[in-house]
Structure formats: C-alpha cells, structure tokens
C-alpha cells in the first residue's frame, strides 16, 4: 500500500516540477531582461532618435516602425485569415482539395521566417516595385502570421455548437446571415487568441523585415507606407552584430529588448482583457 502512495507522490512532484520549470524560466527571462534593460530606459530613450552612430540617443523611430509594421500585418492578415477560415470550416465541401489546402496552411506555418523574408523581397520589393518599405514589410509579416490566424480562427469556428447553426438556419435565416450574426460573434474570443499569437510573432520577427522594410538607421520618421522604417528586433540585431561599438551599446540593446517585450506583452494584455470581456457577455 505504502509503495503505491509513494509512486503517486513521485508522479505528482514530477508534474508539478515540470509546470514550475516553465513558470520559472519565463520569470527568470523577464527579470533578466528587466534588470539589464531598465537602466537604459528613460524619457529620452523612448522619444528621441539614435545619435552618434547609434551609441547614444533613443529608439523612438524603431518603436514607431515596429508599431506600423505590426499593425499593418494584422490589418492585412486578420480579415484574410478569418475569411479563409470561414471558407474552410463553413462553406467548403470536405474532401481532398480542402485537405490539400489545410496541409498547405500547416506547411506555411512551419516555413522558416527568413524564407518569408526572401519571398517578400522577391515579390513585393522587386517584382511589384514597392521597394523596401512599410507596405512590403507589413505584407510579408502578414503572410507569416496568416497560418496562425487561419488555424486559430478555424478552431474557434468549429467550437461554435452546430445546434446554433441549425437553430438559425431552421428559422429560415440565410447561411451568410447565420455566419455573420451567430457563428462569428461566438467564435470571436478564439479568433482574438489567434490574433494575439500573430501580433506577438509579427512584432518580434527580424528576418522577414530585414530585406523588405527595415532600415539600418534613419532619423526621419515615415510619412507614407512607402517609406523605410527602423524596427525594434532589427535594431537589436544591428547593434549586437553589425556595429563597431557592440560592447558599448549593450545597455541600449537590452533597453530595446525590454521595450519590445513590454510592447508585445502589452498587446497581449489588451487582447486578453478584450477576450475575457466578450466571454463574460456570452455564456453557453
């Protein structure tokens, strides 16, 4: 008998420890970034452009650039992704073609981000002659996060009980109206979750924007979507690898990362609050 309890305890301790390790590593990571980065943070750091070969000054253009790129990516990918998911889960006849599309979406999710970068360079920057700019970068990031949003939206749509659809269609409401009034509103929390993941990924990626949007340095703020911008992840990459003052700019690198992490977590937080608000309103 005692042996059985012992085994049980060992098991409990193990799973508890696993969960604990995850929480601990995230915590440690955040604390580390915070401790190293907080020294660089200040009003000037957040509001001024870099100067003296980027060894001093702020990162304002990069913050703004990342904001534009991320917002652009989500504006492009969210409608496209949701509409694709509606087609896949509500309209398409399940069969080999749909299976193929779904496999395609999953493959796309696994493609390394640098490949998206090259694809964006080839298509948007060179072929369509947008040049390296916000539009090209946002489109590239949009394609990058599309699979995430399609996947999450499809799951969310599937999660809406079939009985809701039947109830609406049975009243003589058209399929499109049923999707618009019943299915989509009830799938919204799940779709938002997908967008959170997408935003986080879009804000943090370096490779896709390296060739399509990001400038090494520009003090000028963008005035149109055809302007090049600085971006936080690329800025860190540049400071940490390509500059001539790598050691000297360490604090700026950490500060930039701290801003990036705070930005992503902040966006996540907004979406989580929105989601829980919607969930509270809709219960079934």
């Amino acid at each position: 008998m005692k042996w059985r309890y012992f085994k049980q305890n060992v098991f409990f301790v193990t799973i508890r420890f696993s969960a604990f390790i995850i929480a601990l590593s995230i915590g440690a990571f955040l604390v580390y970034i915070f401790m190293n980065g907080i020294g660089a943070i200040g009003w000037d750091f957040l509001t001024l452009p870099p100067r003296d070969s980027m060894t001093k000054g702020g990162i304002m253009p990069a913050i703004l650039g990342t904001f534009y790129l991320t917002a652009g990516a989500i504006i492009i990918a969210l409608p496209l992704g949701v509409v694709s998911a509606i087609y896949l889960s509500e309209y398409a006849k399940q069969g080999p073609v749909i299976r193929l599309i779904r496999i395609g979406v999953n493959c796309l999710a696994g493609v390394p981000s640098v490949v998206f970068g090259l694809f964006g360079l080839g298509l948007f920057v060179v072929f369509l002659q947008f040049g390296s700019c916000i539009l090209s970068g946002a489109l590239t990031l949009g394609f990058l996060i599309l699979p995430t949003i399609i996947g999450a939206s499809e799951e969310a749509l599937k999660g809406v009980p079939q009985t809701f659809r039947e109830a609406s269609l049975g009243l003589g409401v058209s399929k499109w109206q049923t999707i618009l009034r019943i299915v989509l509103p009830n799938a919204l929390p799940g779709i938002l979750t997908g967008s959170i993941l997408g935003i986080g990924r879009a804000a943090g990626e370096t490779a896709p924007i390296m060739f399509t949007a990001a400038a090494f340095f520009t003090a000028k703020l963008p005035t149109s979507i055809f302007d090049e911008v600085m971006a936080l992840p690329y800025h860190v990459y540049v400071l940490a690898t390509a500059g001539t003052h790598i050691e000297e700019t360490r604090p700026i690198q950490y500060g930039t990362i701290l801003v990036l992490v705070a930005l992503v977590l902040g966006i996540d937080l907004i979406a989580i609050i929105m989601r829980s608000y919607i969930r509270k309103k809709k219960r079934w």
Partner: protein, 253 residues
C-alpha cells in the same frame, strides 16, 4: 373530397451517401392537425422530418428522390430557395438550443433579419410569440436576461416562440420533449394542443404514449419504410399491420 393536405410526400427515397435511409415513402400531412411519426431508433422518422424543410441539405453527401409538395410545388425543385421554405416550415429541435442572447433577442432575431425593423412591431411580435408558447407570464419581467439562464423546459418554449415569431405555416418538432422532465413535457404537450388551431404540427417522438395523447394521425416507420399511416386512435387500437401492433405493444423496438 377536397384535399386539405398542406404537405404531400410522394415516393421519396433518401440516401446518406450509399446508405438508403428512406424507401418509397408516400404520405400526406393534413392542415391544422398534429401528425406523429413513431418508430424505433434509426427508422428514418427524423430523416423524413428534416426532409420536409430541407434541413438535410446541410449534411454533405445526401440525396433525395421523389417529391415533397408544399403549396403546389416540389420543394426540391432547383428553383426553390430552401431559406424561403424554412421560413414557412419552422423547426424545433430535440435539445433546446436557444442562442446565447437575451430572451427578447432570441425571439426577435429571425423577424429582424427578414425585415421587421419597427421597434414597437418587434416588441408586439415578441410578446405575441411568447404568449403563444405560454411562456410570457414566466419571463415578461426578465426579457433582457440571457435565455441560457432558463430551465430546460423554458428554453424549449423559447425555441418554440422563436420559431412562431417567423409566422410559419407548419411546425416540425424533432422529439421536443426527450430532454425534458415530465412536468415540462406536459406543458409542451398542452401547448401543442393549443397551437394546432393555427399551425400544422408534425412531431417525431420516441414516446408512444405521447403520440397517442397529442396526435390526430400517426405514421409508424421501420427500417426506412412507412409501415402504417392511420388516424392515431385506429393505429393504437386496431392497427392494420402486424408489425405496428408488435411495436406498440412493446414486443420489439
């Protein structure tokens, strides 16, 4: 004799993929009567019910042969809009399935989408529908609360009111009381008695006593075939077919 039939099913075969769920079913449904469809599980009675307002269209790989005539036209003709048919032939499902909305929005959902915009007209329609579903007195003070908060029996009556608000001619009910307790069941049965003055009701039920209590006509299905279709009293007292007798006396099924 002048035909008083509202729906006529003519030589219908129905397939789910390769599986033939209904074989050569012909039956007429009389206006302002309650017709019950009974039979063991998988006999095709629910399939037939869902065929009458084209709800089976929603399932991939189904096929219909034969005709279902409603108001002089075959509802399976290619130029017939199933959405239009479902407005005229409403449906109440086995499990109560109100929308996760307030009671008032559950009822006004359908009418709003077919163009009833006027607020007072909508309110009147909600009140009338809830009264018809004998739910008004219980919910008139909580119309803005979620329909999900109600009991199962009340939820089912919300669903009935929701269907009535579309002003259909026919109401299809697919085992509407199988998920409910006896008291809620009795209320719904009373309601059906009341509703047949204005509507034609076709109800699928597992419960033979229920069919005997509330229906004017009963059809007995077995293995996808209509075995016997007669006035309820006759079917339950002196059935024409031996299989029917065996089923209603509980010898199989």
């Amino acid at each position: 004799m002048l035909s008083d039939n509202i729906i006529e099913v003519k030589r219908v075969n129905f397939y789910y993929g390769e599986f033939k769920a209904l074989t050569d079913v012909t039956m007429d449904f009389e206006k302002n009567k309650v017709t019950a469809l009974i039979g063991p599980s998988g006999c095709g009675k629910s399939t037939l019910l869902r065929l009458l307002n084209r709800m089976n269209d929603l399932i991939d790989g189904t096929r219909v042969e034969g005709e279902v005539v409603f108001e002089d036209r075959n509802i399976y003709d290619p130029d017939v809009d199933p959405v239009e048919i479902r407005r005229r032939i409403g449906m109440v499902f086995q499990k109560p399935n109100p929308f996760p909305k307030s009671i008032i929005n559950n009822i006004s959902y359908g009418p709003k989408l077919v163009g009833v915009k006027d607020k007072s007209e909508l309110e009147a329609l909600v009140e009338q529908s809830l009264k018809q579903a004998s739910l008004w007195d219980e919910v008139k003070d909580i119309l803005n609360q979620s329909a999900m908060m109600l009991s199962g029996g009340q939820q089912q009556r919300v669903c009935i009111a929701r269907a009535l608000a579309m002003k259909p001619d026919v109401l299809l009910m697919d085992e509407p009381t199988s998920a409910l307790d006896p008291i809620s069941t009795a209320k719904i049965e009373e309601l059906i008695e009341e509703l047949k003055k204005e509507y034609t009701i076709i109800i699928v039920t597992h419960n033979m006593q229920q069919a005997a209590r509330i229906s004017d006509y009963t059809g007995f299905f077995y293995l996808g075939k209509l075995i016997e279709y007669n006035p309820t009293e006759k079917l339950f007292t002196t059935p024409d077919v031996k299989q029917t007798e065996e089923y209603i006396t509980g010898r199989f099924g």
